[in-house]
Amino acid sequence: MSQITASEQSTHRGDDVPRDADFSAPRQPRQRARRRTLLVRGAQLGLVVLWLVLWDLTARYQWVTPVLAKSPKQSWDYLVEAVENGELWSNAQATMIAVVIAWVLASAVGVVAGITLGLLPTLERILAPFLDAANAMPRIALAPFFIVAFGIGVQAKVALASTLVFFIVLSASRAGVRSADPEWLRLSAVLGAKKHHLFWKVMLPVATPAIIASLRLGLIYALLGVVGSELIAAQNGLGQLIAKYSSLFRLEAVYAILLLLAVIAVVLNQVMAVVERRLLRWQPPADH
């Protein structure tokens, strides 16, 4: 051993410095990155303002049919009113509860099913055509079926949204669990890995990025599924409000709710992005 300690000094290898990584990033690039983030946010704000102005002009000069031409101000008034009388909150709550239930249930089942199929190729071959057929079905066409089967309560929305989320998560988990490098498996086998080791220490971690990406996408699809189902028929929910105000030709209310949905989607996506970054700290940044 002494030989090595003695040579320690002389073995500083010039070509072996770590690649540029955050931990040693000098101040200069970090400042530049912050400035770029500021620029991005500023441009985004600019786009929102531009779009509001265009919307307002369209309404003011009646560039579209008068029924459709409602101004941002009118939508805002509706929003304030709906918040005050509690209509917005109770319906948003109903929608979001259904979204969360559908997302959690379908994701859990989808991950388990996907990993199972990924590990059992024969079973996967048997089921593949049926899964493809089920996934190709236009889900909104199933809405009447679910509504008759489960009523206009929360179950029907959850059922419809789940059919969307399930397949997204399933196919990602299936592909993810199969993407293990054969060299890792070869090495692990020689180092004495048992089957359960391979699963927990190689296959599951390697599938994690794909699974998390699909959960993120699945959350948005859960929202789409729930609102779609509510549009067809429901006791409450934002989709049901849209249906009601559309039939009353109160388009300013419809616009307001659509915008609210858009905001919810963006927030959900950002939250998931943060979770993703946390869990996948080991991945190189996208621009690496």
Binding site: M1, D16, P18, A21, F23, L187, V190, K201, R281, W282
Partner: protein
């Protein structure tokens, strides 16, 4: 042929008892169009304990299959293989294994990767940590414990792989072109690192697959030439140790062996 019995009375009989013994080991694969293809023809090979043997040959000559057989990844179709006096599979807890690509798990830090093999063998957490830190230090990566593999250079990654292999304290090191993927300069640095580790500790048996003749002669005690599934040549290198990679190439014996093998590689 029966060299081990002849030496049975020698004082160092224990040491000379082969660590790896192949007898008439043959490996065949079924061909897709039917019939079989023989990858290894009835190999007889004894590797004494503590010997560093290099298997050289063109790609596709069967040298990796031979290594895989010792690692119990491939079963001989006929004949026998013994490692440490038992079957290859039972000897696995005493094996270290290194590949051309570092095969680091990207979701584990340098430290976590070194711990991987220890974890599979059920070593407790505190011991594992200690051993891993220790070995990272010995391959000159002290301070890099918490870096992810993508933050490391090629050479650093392969040194993490070295530490991972060594941390298991293996009796037999199986290495499949471990330095082939490195650029020339880094390769020499990592080879030197490896040679120092090997020469400094208790003598471990090494089976080293390579197509680089110079590397084989410089590092190994014995060079075995494999071609078309047979052993074509088997020579003791006989250059004294400890060796230094920079000067070994100038050794007359190195030149001689290089000439001898060059035609067949």
């Amino acid at each position: 042929m029966n060299s081990s019995t002849l030496r049975a009375h020698a004082p160092e009989a224990q040491r000379l008892d082969p660590m790896i013994r192949l007898r008439q080991a043959r490996v065949t694969y079924p061909k897709p169009e039917g019939g079989t293809r023989t990858v290894l023809h009835d190999i007889d090979l004894d590797v004494p304990t503590g010997q560093f043997v290099a298997l050289v040959g063109r790609s596709g000559c069967g040298k990796t299959t031979l290594l895989n057989m010792i690692a119990a990844l491939v079963e001989p179709s006929s004949g026998s293989i013994e490692v440490r006096g038992t079957t290859a599979r039972e000897a696995r807890p005493h094996l270290g294994f290194m590949l051309a690509r570092d095969a680091l798990l990207p979701w584990r830090t340098a430290q976590g990767n070194v711990e991987y093999g220890l974890e599979l063998r059920g070593i407790d957490r505190a011991t594992r940590r200690q051993i891993a830190r220790d070995w990272l230090g010995r391959v000159h990566l002290g301070g890099s414990e918490r870096l992810w593999p993508w933050q490391l250079s090629q050479g650093m990654r392969q040194r993490v792989a070295l530490a991972r292999t060594w941390a298991l304290d293996p009796d037999v090191l199986l290495m499949d072109e471990p330095f082939a993927a490195l650029d020339a300069r880094t390769r020499i640095a990592v080879q030197q690192e490896f040679l120092e580790l090997w020469q400094s500790g208790p003598q471990r048996t090494v089976v080293f697959v390579t197509h680089d003749l110079g590397e084989a002669i410089a590092l190994a005690d014995r060079v075995v030439l494999v071609g078309e599934g047979r052993i074509l040549d088997d020579v003791e290198v006989g250059i004294e140790r400890p060796r230094d990679l920079e000067s070994v190439a100038a050794h007359p014996r190195y030149q001689e062996l290089y000439e001898r093998f060059r035609a067949s590689i």
